[in-house]
């Protein structure tokens, strides 16, 4: 068991090493098969581990494997060790399984790229790092994975490096997340100083004993960790890197910027939920940030033209839901939504990628249209995913996960009406923009002809993910419906159940409300984008929409507040102010030299004069002291 846990991240790393060192020499798609195979083995191992884990329940709730001692300095002892519990099990399942599908997809998607093997190397490195992140049983090891995925994100966003914009997007992503990471490492320091260990399990055990609920130290620590989570998960105010990150290839967007890495923040908060519970202020902030983010991103998604940017904003918005759930203490609901979101969002990105590939790098949905008949499989899967995203009642997995969040946002201890209103309005927006996307892309008249047919390696992952997007929700049904909840039961080994402060029966009512609203949203999308497009013509061109389009001008604010001053500061002093010291000293010396040199004029009588003056000075001093 423990060997397998170690092997799960190790195999993708091995794949990375092989591809990194020898990839250049591999012909054809071999590199792709190796990369996919590595993740596939990991996925297989994950299934085995999962089976054993479930078998071992409820006696053994977590397994730990220590590989080697990493750091030992003073009282800081850090081991490279992994531990597997229900939470990380779900994450590694999503990472390896969805990762495997996306790798498979990439073999075809990236075929012919001159850096084919590099791509798979980076992807394998990513999967490995992500697995380290979620398996880590130590904050520092977690941080290692955390930064590792950041690196891969950077590399993959800038994968097509020849376009400078891609490079800039990659840099932006890295720096934004780095800001969060720095807050996080400070939080880790605080943990270490207070608990003398970085072992997550021990910290979580000691925290409630050592720290009072709402104490300053707990609040600061939780806030710092939250900083890391905000950066990685693209939440307010560090969200604006994610839309730009779409510069990467579509599988990258699917894997990193939809399914896995961006949800690392969710994982972190869930993992350290005890700290957040000790800091109610911060926890509330998580909920508020989540709610605000989901709305802001929802509006922006509605304004985009680029299919991938729509999905990017949608991702931000959906992670906003997860944060909302975390903020109200609905830990398992957040994780549930994470999983379902991974399925349908990965599917959306992969579908979008397939479309873009077929249409020769066309990103603008208004230049697509009518693709329904030309790419039926893609259409159906895309439709399924969008429905799931929009949380179409009953038939989609998204409905189950999102409605659980909406319900808890109202009913849980720290939930409330306003959070729920934000959530429900967000749901409306989600329905609207996701079906806007579907209708514009697949209906109407065809504006661009697909230049190629996509192959099986692309279609298989789409279908598998589509199935999951529909059926995935069945692992967790609303309480009112017979209380079939294996998912949260599993998670309750790690995460506490959500306490509900409202009447249980209300849930059905709320579900009806949200279902209605979603349906209204879908209908309005149909109305606006198929039936009567003129209705929204004026809005589409309004300043407000432009504002949403630009992502609420966050970039502009950062530009004015941070980028410009820094660049200015750099430019005014490029030559290094401290050089005055050198130039000053040498000027003084040269001046002295010139002056003294004048006295050395070769004139004998002048020299005699200096004798006379010298003796005069000496005698004057000695006599009239």
């Amino acid at each position: 068991m423990t060997t397998y846990i170690g092997l799960i991240p190790a195999i993708p790393f091995l794949g990375f090493l092989i591809l990194g060192l020898y990839g250049q020499k591999m012909h054809g798609k071999i590199a792709g098969y190796i990369g996919t195979g590595a993740v596939g083995i990991s996925a297989f191992l994950t299934f085995m581990v999962a089976a054993r884990y479930l078998n071992g329940l409820p006696e053994i709730k977590s397994y730990t494997v220590t590989l080697w001692q990493w750091i030992s300095a003073g009282n800081l002892n850090v081991n490279i060790s992994f531990s597997l519990d229900a939470l990380s099990l779900i994450f590694i399942f999503v990472i390896t399984f969805v990762g495997f599908l996306i790798h498979m997809y990439s073999i075809e998607f990236m075929a012919g790229d001159e850096r084919f093997s590099k791509f798979f190397a980076y992807m394998n490195l990513f999967v490995g790092s992500m697995l380290v992140l979620v398996l880590a049983n130590n904050m520092l090891v977690l941080y290692m994975g955390w930064e590792g995925v950041g690196l891969c994100s950077y590399l993959l966003i800038g994968f097509w490096y020849k376009e400078p914009e891609n490079g800039y997007a990659a840099r932006k992503a890295f720096i934004f997340t780095r800001v969060g990471d720095t807050a996080m490492i400070l939080g880790i320091f605080l943990l270490f100083l207070n608990f003398g260990t970085l072992n997550i399990h021990q910290i979580m055990q000691q925290a409630p004993e050592k720290w009072m609920t709402g104490s300053a130290i707990a609040t600061v620590t939780a806030a710092l960790l939250l900083g890391g989570a905000l950066g990685k998960s693209a939440q307010l105010p560090l969200q604006s890197w994610l839309p730009d990150a779409m510069a990467g290839p579509s599988p990258v967007s699917a894997l990193i910027h939809a399914a896995t890495m961006v949800t690392a923040g969710v994982y972190l908060i869930a993992r350290t939920h005890i700290l957040f519970a000790l800091a109610p202020v911060v926890q509330t902030a998580v909920a508020v940030i989540g709610a605000a983010t989901l709305l802001i991103a929802g509006f922006s998604a509605l304004a985009q033209h680029d299919i991938k940017r729509i999905l990017a904003y949608s991702t931000i918005s959906q992670i906003g839901y997860m944060f909302l759930a975390l903020g109200v203490g609905a830990w398992s609901a957040a994780v549930f939504h994470f999983m379902i979101h991974a399925f349908f969002k990965a599917l959306l990105f992969l579908g979008a990628g397939a479309i873009i590939l077929a249409l020769d790098e066309e990103h603008d949905i208004f230049k697509m249209g009518g693709l329904r008949k030309k790419m039926p499989v893609i259409f159906i899967t895309y439709l399924v995913a969008s429905a799931s995203l929009a949380a179409l009642p009953l038939v989609t997995a998204g409905f189950y996960s999102k409605d659980q969040i909406l319900w808890y946002s109202f009913s849980s201890q720290s939930g409330g009406l306003w959070l729920w209103i934000a959530g429900i309005f967000g749901a409306f927006l989600t329905a609207l923009y996701s079906f806007r996307m579907v209708f514009i892309t697949f209906y109407g008249e065809a504006k661009t002809e697909p230049s190629m047919k996509v192959g099986k390696l692309i279609l298989i992952p789409l279908v598998v993910l589509a199935v999951l997007s529909v059926l995935g929700g069945l692992v967790e049904l609303p309480q009112a419906w017979g209380n079939f909840r294996p998912f949260s039961n599993l998670l309750h080994n790690v995460l506490p159940a959500t306490t509900i402060h409202k009447k249980e029966g209300l849930e059905v009512v709320f579900e009806l409300i949200s279902a209605t609203i979603v349906l209204i949203g879908v209908y309005l999308a149909y109305l606006f984008y198929i039936k009567k497009p003129w209705l929204v013509k004026s809005y589409e061109h309004s300043r407000l929409n432009e504002f949403f389009y630009r992502g609420w001008d966050f970039d502009k604010v950062y530009d004015v507040l941070l980028v410009k001053p820094i660049v200015w500061l750099a430019e005014i002093d490029e030559k290094d102010f401290f050089n005055w010291f050198n130039t000053g000293v040498s000027k003084v010396a040269l001046f002295g030299n010139r002056v003294l040199s004048l006295t050395q004029n070769g004139k004998l009588r002048w020299y005699l004069m200096s004798f006379a003056i010298g003796i005069a000075l000496i005698l004057t001093y000695m006599i009239y002291r």
């Binding site: 990194g20 250049q24 080697w68 001692q69 990493w70 750091i71 030992s72 300095a73 003073g74 009282n75 800081l76 490279i80 520092l140 941080y143 290692m144 930064e147 590792g148 690196l151 950077y154 590399l155 800038g158 490096y161 020849k162 376009e163 400078p164 891609n166 490079g167 800039y168 990659a170 840099r171 890295f174 720096i175 780095r178 800001v179 990471d181 720095t182 490492i185 400070l186 320091f189 270490f192 100083l193 820094i566 500061l569 750099a570 430019e571 002093d573 490029e574 290094d576 401290f578 050089n579 010291f581 050198n582």
Partner: protein, 512 residues
């Protein structure tokens, strides 16, 4: 005797290289490589000892040199010096290999200077006699001066002056402090000696100790270099030939000096200097980062990166705890390698492109993917990505500092963000983007790959398995922290000391 052998091997190698250089240009290279490899193998056995022996000096030689002044040829090896020596020899070998083809005029004399510089460096790392230390400290300057001046780029002569003058000025101030310490010790105990071990714990009034410490700091902070004494470094980096990545090594002598001499000799003064030291460290980190971001000359940029990194060393040293000190030791090693590697890359680029201006580069990944990958790896290392040794170093330093001074740690951690900004700028400008010109350049040769590969292995190795290093450093770290604890008892006696020292009258007033 092994320690003397180390020095003698280098000296003989130096002379042989020079002599043979008259007839053949390959022989000197082989000779200096051989000398370094021999030295490396000579000390490798000590590594085993270092891992087990936790208290004493591993090797200790004490011979009389100038008895009239109490000057001895006292060389000793402990974990810290052992690691610094390993780094020295490794970097020495790297620079010989790197300069194998690049240096093709006056090869013999070049290698003479290279080995002489290394002799000085090795001497500095081994000396336990302050005079001897100063001797080696000064000794390494001249050959280095020649290397910069003769084999450097356009302005190298002027740069070499600057370097020489700066370090010399610092060194002379240190000399005064050494002498003053010698006399104070002599006057209070009657034993006139330059021996480091005996001078530790010399009793003196706090104000005097502070002044003397400033003298030492002058030498070490120039070498580090600390802002505002850093300007020589940027120019040396930009003008010196590749092999003067040795200069990256020289910086370590400054850090080593702080570690070995300032803290143990002046425990209280160092403590009272700590706030200033920390401020300087933070300034170095941030100001260095800021300037690195502003540069367009690749090598100057790297120089400022190194200024920024050195801030961590300074910060860590004045944190006075074990974690930070371990971090400092790590930082000394890893920064040497990562900055060295970046410098090598920069030199390889500028040699191929005939420009160092990053605005003229761009899109080079396509042409030189291997170099790009290596550049990427070391950029990531230098921005402190986990998995590389630099991360461990910066983490430990920050953590240690965090323990003692939260503000400094928080400000310094801004350096991590800044590091991301300037480091990625290198990648963006050099390797990413469109090709600015149709460069016709070749990728790394096998020789260059070998060097880069070994450096990658070491830096990753230190990132993933830093424990051997930390273990070897541990006794040293504890030792230098213990002198501070010992001095807790001194403090109680300080009032007594003060009277005594005033009687002995260190600074004779002009009462004639």
């Amino acid at each position: 005797m092994i320690l003397i052998d180390l020095i003698i091997v280098l000296l003989i190698g130096a002379i042989l290289a020079w002599i043979t250089g008259k007839w053949n240009s390959v022989l000197p290279r082989i000779i200096s490589l051989a000398a370094l490899v021999v030295d490396l193998f000579l000390i490798i056995p000590e590594v085993v000892g270092a891992a087990t022996n936790q208290t004493k000096w591993l090797v200790d030689i004490d011979l009389s040199w100038i008895p009239a002044f109490g000057i001895n040829l006292h060389l000793a090896l402990d974990g810290l010096s052992l690691m610094m020596l390993l780094l020295t020899f490794f970097m020495g070998i790297v620079s010989v290999i790197i300069s194998w083809k690049e240096i093709n005029k006056r090869v013999g004399f070049f290698h003479f200077n290279l080995l002489m510089t290394l002799t000085g460096v090795v001497g500095v790392f081994l000396s336990l006699d302050l005079f001897l230390f100063y001797f080696f400290w000064e000794l390494m300057l001249v050959p280095l001066y020649f290397m910069i001046g003769i084999w450097g780029h356009k302005n190298s002569t002027a740069v070499a002056y600057k370097f020489f003058l700066y370090t010399q000025a610092g060194g002379l101030l240190m000399l005064i402090s050494i002498l003053a310490l010698y006399f104070i010790h002599g006057q209070t105990t009657g034993v006139y000696t330059f021996d480091y071990l005996q001078l530790i714990g010399t009793k003196m009034p706090a104000s005097v100790a502070f002044l003397l410490m400033l003298g030492f700091l002058a030498a070490f902070l120039v070498k580090l270099p600390m802002i505002p004494l850093h300007t020589w470094l940027t120019e040396v980096y930009s003008e010196a030939p590749t092999a003067v990545l040795l200069s990256a090594l020289l910086l370590k002598t400054g850090a080593y000096g702080l570690f070995r001499f300032v803290v143990p000799l002046f425990p209280f003064a160092a403590r009272s200097f700590a706030p200033v030291g920390m401020v300087l460290g933070v300034i170095a980190i941030l100001y260095g980062a800021k300037l690195a971001f502003a540069q367009t000359d690749l090598k100057r940029l790297i120089a400022y990166i190194s200024v920024s990194h050195v801030g961590f060393i300074l910060l860590g040293i004045f944190a006075f705890n074990e974690i930070a000190y371990q971090g400092v030791v790590m930082q000394m090693l890893t920064q040497g390698i990562s900055t060295g590697a970046l410098l090598i890359m920069a030199e390889q680029l500028s040699e191929r492109l005939h420009t160092r201006d990053i605005n003229q580069m761009g899109g080079l990944w396509e042409k030189v993917p291997i170099m790009g990958t290596i550049g990427l790896i070391f950029t990531m290392a230098s921005l402190g990505l986990p998995g590389f040794g630099n991360f461990i170093a910066e983490l430990l330093v920050l953590l240690g500092v965090f323990k003692t001074n939260v503000t400094a740690a928080v400000l310094a951690s801004l350096g991590l963000v800044a590091a991301a900004i300037y480091s990625l700028r290198i990648l963006q400008k050099v390797f990413y983007g469109r090709k600015s010109k149709n460069w016709e350049i070749h990728d790394l040769s096998i020789r260059e790959k070998l060097v880069a590969g070994s450096m990658i292995i070491i830096i990753v190795g230190m990132g993933l398995f830093p424990k051997p290093v930390l273990n070897i450093a541990k006794p040293v770290v504890l030792k230098s922290l213990n002198t501070q604890n010992d001095s807790a008892f001194l403090k109680s006696q300080e009032s007594k000391t003060k009277v005594m020292a005033e009687n002995t009258c260190f600074l004779k007033p002009l009462n004639r």
